[in-house]
């Protein structure tokens, strides 16, 4: 009896799960991807995954969604590399792109500069930096980014050094003017 009644409740309940977890997952993905628009895209993919192949053990749904989102986010970071090449040319900052709602949120010199530097970094550096910032440990970063666990420290140290160098360079060269 609980099976059938539970099932019926479940059929109505997906919308509720969506309402509860979508903002949580979006926030996590924003940290992973460094972009709201990308975060919302990947959040959609995450819920499609949940819909199509849910976990066998549903007791920690939040944790499951979070792991799936992280994996999809990394795929996204990888595919975004080629997209960025096409759109902007390798490593070129976002200058000239039309300001969308996301850019509206990114007024402020420091925030705008950070975005430019993130765009500039090599894809693996950028991914590791964001993954680490989102709170993952080395083992998780290694798994998601597909590198050896004992190279994570090296990649991170280099990425952070580059970040600082590029940030200072761009700030010096155009005095932080973005658009």
């Amino acid at each position: 009896m609980p099976t059938t009644t539970g099932q019926a409740a479940g059929q109505t309940g997906f919308r509720e799960l969506f309402d509860r977890y979508y903002p949580v997952i979006c926030r996590q993905l924003t940290c992973l991807l460094g972009s709201r628009a990308a975060a919302e895209d990947v959040a959609q993919e995450t819920f499609i995954k949940l819909y199509q192949s849910p976990p066998r053990e549903p007791s920690n749904l939040g944790g499951w969604l979070s792991r799936v989102a992280a994996n999809l986010a990394y795929n996204h970071l990888r595919s975004e590399k080629s997209r960025r090449r096409r759109e902007f040319g390798a490593g070129r900052p976002l200058a000239g792109r039309e300001a969308g709602p996301e850019e509206e949120l990114l007024r402020g010199e420091e925030v705008a500069l950070t975005r430019q530097v993130l765009e500039f970094l090599p894809e693996r550096d950028r991914a590791c930096l964001l993954l680490k910032f989102s709170g993952m440990n080395y083992a998780e970063i290694a798994r998601v980014a597909g590198i050896r666990e004992n190279s994570v420290g090296t990649v991170l140290a280099r990425a952070r050094a580059r970040f600082k160098r590029e940030y200072s360079r761009i700030k010096g060269s155009d005095d932080g003017v973005l658009l």
Partner: protein, 379 residues
């Protein structure tokens, strides 16, 4: 110093607390003597704090605005439909997951489901092949706390990884689980009771869409040999009698209708209505199953006592009350249960009650007071 110097990657891992104890101690010792590595460490630390500060400001700016869940849901549904065309859902899909999630989200739910499904305390006098039909006549809560749940979970983890319905027998589904959007007229025509479908609910909620879920039938054929193996591995002294082997239990769930309402701030409320599911069981010996389940050694004593005290098993739908999340309430004069959901960002709840053989439920971002208002608008 004879030990060679460390590279920035090691120093970074040292700062991040990611080195093995031995290496960490060695590096710490080395730093005491090596000015070059100390300076390198300082550089790594500065870079780290520089990048983290900027990233934190950036993420804060990005996450400042709310995410539009309502719009995201619409776009999710479009994607879902096209994904379903490519690969139709299986029985193992989200619905079965959700039903498990809903039932209690803990291993306790598995246990309770079995206990309820197989426990028919008051019907055992009838002849052996007589079939008995049960309907839900009331909903009740069973109190559990975190310690109870972890006790049960531990037993399942350590005692038997095989606590899976497949190891108790054979489960067959027919019909059911098909949902489609219907008009109010179609929904009314599909059920044999009076469907209540107001265009609006208190608080500015407007009817958005109506789903019909087709009737379903589930048969469960008990395999006592496998079940007893599991019971034994869980340390049970009491086993199921062999003559129960191959007995079939069935659950019929009639057509159900769900109405979705959208309200302020894109909040959504769902009203679920359906005839009570029916349990069809061989009328004898089933108390042997109940006794065996109640003898499970890992059952917390307070749970065992609560389960044993329910004398109207066959007509009671049990809802686990985990840490006060559920409580029995009065819904327009009949007993019901309100389940408060926690864990998400917003408050959410579900109210279930039964009247005249029809089970109704309201769920959404509501507290008990609002849920009762909706219930009053329906009854």
């Amino acid at each position: 110093m004879t030990v060679s110097c460390y590279d920035p990657g090691d120093l970074q891992a040292y700062l991040d607390g990611e080195l093995d104890c031995g290496v960490k101690a060695e590096l710490g010792k080395h730093l005491l003597h090596c000015g070059k590595c100390r300076r390198a460490l300082e550089e790594v630390r500065k870079n780290q704090s520089f990048a983290s500060t900027r990233l934190a400001g950036y993420m804060q700016a990005l996450a400042r605005a709310e995410f539009d869940t309502g719009r995201a849901w619409l776009s999710f549904n479009k994607k879902r439909l096209s994904a379903e065309k490519e690969s139709p859902l299986t029985k193992e899909g989200v619905l079965s997951m959700l039903s498990k999630y809903r039932a209690a989200a803990t291993a306790a739910a598995i246990m309770l489901a079995l206990a309820v499904t197989f426990s028919f305390g008051s019907v055992r006098s009838a002849a052996s092949d007589l079939l008995t039909i049960f309907r839900v006549e009331k909903v009740r809560t069973i109190n559990l706390d975190a310690a109870d749940i972890s006790q049960i979970e531990r037993a399942f983890r350590e005692g038997a990884g095989e606590v899976d319905i497949k190891n108790f027998g054979r489960l067959e589904f027919s019909g059911g689980n098909e949902s489609k959007i219907v008009t109010p007229e179609e929904a009314r025509g599909a059920v044999d009771f009076e469907l209540v479908l107001p265009d609006a609910l208190p608080g500015g909620y407007q009817l958005r869409e109506i789903y019909k879920f087709s009737a379903g039938h589930v048969e469960f054929t008990l395999d006592t040999i496998k079940t007893n193996q599991v019971l034994q591995s869980l340390g049970n002294g009491k086993l199921l009698p062999e003559e129960l082997n191959g007995r079939t239990f069935a659950i019929d769930s009639p057509v159900q209708v769900t109405a979705g309402y959208t309200g302020p701030g894109n909040g959504s409320v769902h009203i679920w209505q359906g005839r009570s599911p029916e349990l069809i069981a061989p009328g004898s010996d089933v108390n042997a199953i109940r006794d065996a389940l109640l003898a499970l050694p890992f059952l917390p004593e307070n749970l065992r006592a609560q389960l044993a005290s329910i004398n109207d098993w066959e007509r009671t739908f049990l809802i686990p009350n985990v840490e006060g999340s559920s409580r029995e309430v009065n819904v327009n004069g009949v007993p019901g249960v309100f389940i408060a959901q926690t864990g998400g960002e917003k408050q959410a709840g579900c109210l279930i009650w039964q009247r005249g053989g029809v089970v109704r439920a309201v769920s959404g971002p509501v507290d008990l007071g609002q849920a009762l208002q909706f219930a009053a608008a329906l009854d």
